[in-house]
């Protein structure tokens, strides 16, 4: 690869030759990377030896490469800049795959650097050799197999540029061991790479969009994760929605762009969205989609999603336009810069009829949060945790019922406060992502909502958590089941529960203590006592585990039947019988 990388005027030391490993470390330092995370191994040892000598970049030792990948993701999701995870060849690389695929699905900037067997051994089935380039190809924004130390001067800054430009994503750099040890003279270091400046959308298209919005009688904004990644978009959206009396729904990834308690925030749409949210979307005559991609968990059966609405779709990735739902106006652009052009063209229009219709849906079909005042009920523990953690806390989740209850009911107030595995839905995300969040924001408490199923998938990272003494509070909702599987079997598989109960569980409090994490159990306590214990757990600034037993019979409601339209969601008072559930399921497949 001979591509050009602009050089800076920062000279390298011309009295020495730099190894490939030293070149990578130097460029990471210059990119402002203060923490890298991962696990060493044979093919990564030259790199680790160079890293040992860095005075600017510190290493956090994960206990599993997947944990390292999610720690780096946690940092990326909080900071909004590419962060770096490391692994050796072979199993190190394969263990990283899940965390990198997760970053790809949620558009998170991430740099994965792996050691590879020496080039002369590639293709010989050498010890700890896998085709990392081939494995990473379909789950990254881009990937590199580096052939020489000289190439690193181009590849590493380019990886940062690609990961952070346009729609962010993961970039994988696979570095054979001989490239890590090859020594070359370096005259000047490459320029520190920065994201490409977004190209502003064409003014004529923005004008057409403004005209369509101004003419709409029942518009709804549809806010996705792109409004989180676009710098400044959240403030601009809030101002627009406030000033022009507009309303907005949010995807799972867009939570926090508008505060949950914003008077014109219409909640989260999708499989577990409130009934009022979907009724309003059904009535909308215009959807203004900002940084979202019509994920099937958000839209339900897409052919029946927002049947009466025209669509203005703002997305920095043009391949999302009309991929799943036709865009009447497609704006290829960054959300924030597009809003700069769009906002001045939006006319005042109180749309009082629409506002009162919305208020009516909201009143008649609210999100139900039963037993919310009981701190050991599903919604109660979410609320009580917020009361103890305070509005500054960052929240991560694993995947399952606890994730959906938190998404529905936690009061978010800003973007990058909510870290969850949306697209890939990876159990095991929560704890390492919380460690990453705490590393990136050491002044804030980090809450990790998890379940008794999810926590076991990356619980080895408790050792990392203790070693780093981070302020992470693990709130474990324990129903002795894989709750969302159990719920779907209850509803759609004739209540035949199979492979979804976890009766032979460890004592989670003792397990946490074995790692050196103090633990509090909320089981069999009065509401007051449970709240008191939760406060105690949050009092310190180190790690803690709060164990909250709940009933396996608790369900996340509303729920859209898999494959069904959002309007067909069922709620607490309309749960189907087992036979109906089976019919729904048969119809969906």
């Amino acid at each position: 690869m001979t591509s050009f990388q602009p050089t800076s005027d920062t000279p390298a030391d011309d009295t020495k030759l730099y190894s490939g490993a030293e070149i990578i470390v130097k460029i990471l330092e210059r990119q402002g990377i203060e923490i890298v995370t991962g696990m060493p191994g044979g093919a990564a040892l030259p790199f680790y030896d160079a890293l040992r000598q860095s005075e600017k970049t510190r290493h956090v030792l994960a206990r599993h490469e997947q944990g390292g990948g999610f720690i780096a993701q946690g940092m990326s999701r909080v900071l909004g800049t590419p962060q770096v995870c490391l692994a050796t060849s072979g199993p190190g690389a394969t263990n990283l795959l899940t965390a990198v695929a997760d970053a790809q699905l949620d558009s998170i900037p991430l740099i994965a650097i792996t050691g590879q067997v020496p080039q002369q051994m590639i293709g010989t089935d050498a010890f700890q050799e896998v085709d990392t380039y081939g494995l990473s190809l379909p789950i990254t924004k881009h990937n590199f197999l580096v052939r020489s130390a000289r190439e690193l001067l181009y590849v590493v800054p380019e990886a940062f540029r690609i990961a952070s430009s346009g729609r962010p994503g993961p970039v994988w750099i696979d570095v054979p061991k001989d490239v890590q040890v090859e020594r070359i003279a370096v005259e000047n270091w490459p320029e520190i790479s920065t994201p490409d400046t977004p190209v502003p959308a064409e003014q004529s298209i923005v004008k057409a969009a403004a005209d369509m919005l101004n003419a709409a009688e029942r518009p709804v904004f549809y806010i996705g994760g792109g409004a989180v990644s676009s710098v400044g978009a959240s403030e601009k959206l809030r101002a627009l929605i406030d000033d022009k009396n507009l309303h907005a729904v949010s995807t799972l990834m867009g939570l926090g762009v508008l505060p949950s308690d914003h008077p014109r925030a219409l909640g989260m749409l999708g499989m577990h969205g409130a009934l009022y949210t979907h009724s309003i979307l059904d009535r909308a005559d215009l959807l203004v989609v900002v940084g979202a991609r019509f994920d099937d968990r958000a839209t339900g059966k897409v052919a029946e999603f927002c049947p009466d609405a025209k669509v203005i779709h703002v997305d920095i990735d043009p391949s999302e336009h009309s991929k799943l739902k036709h865009a009447h106006i497609a704006i290829s652009g960054d959300v924030s810069t597009t809003l700069d052009a769009l906002v001045p063209l939006i006319e005042d229009n109180p749309r009082t009829e629409w506002a009162s219709e919305i208020a009516d849906y909201r009143r008649r079909m609210p999100l139900k949060t039963p037993d919310v005042d009981n701190p050991t009920s599903p919604y109660g523990i979410i609320k009580a945790t917020f009361d103890s953690a305070g509005p500054d806390a960052i929240v991560t989740t694993d995947v399952g019922q606890h994730q959906m209850w938190a998404a529905q009911a936690y009061p978010f107030n800003r973007p990058r406060q909510w870290l969850t595995s949306g697209g890939l839905g990876t159990m095991g995300f929560g704890l390492p992502a919380a460690i990453g969040a705490a590393l990136a924001a050491p002044d804030k408490a980090v809450v990790c909502f998890t379940g008794d199923g999810s926590i076991l998938l990356n619980m080895q990272e408790m050792a990392t958590l203790v070693e780093e003494r981070l302020n992470v509070k693990i709130v474990l909702l324990d129903n002795a089941a894989l709750g969302l599987v159990y719920q779907q079997q209850s509803m759609y598989y004739g209540a035949n529960h199979f492979a979804s109960t976890l009766q032979e569980a460890p004592d989670f409090s003792d397990l946490a203590r074995a790692f050196g994490i103090p633990a509090w159990n909320l089981g069999n306590l009065s509401a007051d006592k449970a709240r008191e214990r939760l406060h105690e757990a949050f009092a310190g600034d180190g790690p803690a585990l709060i164990h909250c037993p709940i009933e396996a019979a608790e369900q996340v409601m509303p729920m859209v039947p898999p494959g069904g339209a959002n309007r067909d969601a069922i709620d607490y008072d309309s749960k189907p019988t087992a036979e109906q559930g089976d019919r729904d399921h048969a119809a969906a497949v």
Binding site: M1, G134, L137, P138, K141, H142, P318, S319, H321
Partner: protein
């Protein structure tokens, strides 16, 4: 005469479209392009790859059996870092026919 992909004629009349890509000439590029078609379930009828004279780039002709989703195919191809240009080659069918005739 190559055309920018935006000016594609109505392809409904023809079963296949031929796209000409200018790509970075390295061993991973073909995997990236072929992998994209496989994982997005796009139909790919034929591929021809030739290095350019400067050796830094190659040209790749793709015979694509996608009418409804052609613009989706093109915009996904344009996202690949190693794909530098995507154009529509209205005479592209000839390339495949001549190749076909040569090996028949």
């Amino acid at each position: 005469m190559l055309q920018p992909y935006k000016e594609l004629p109505d392809t409904a009349q023809r079963p296949n479209t031929v796209l000409q890509l200018t790509v970075r000439n390295h061993s991973g590029t073909l995997s990236h392009v072929a992998g994209l078609f496989a994982r997005r379930a796009f139909n790919l009828e034929a591929v021809l790859v030739l290095p350019d004279k400067n050796a830094d780039t190659s040209r790749m002709w793709l015979k694509v059996a996608e009418r409804q989703r052609l613009s989706q195919v093109v915009s996904q191809l344009q996202k690949l870092e190693d794909v530098l240009k995507v154009e529509h080659d209205p005479d592209g069918d000839d390339i495949f026919e001549r190749t076909d005739a040569a090996i028949a």
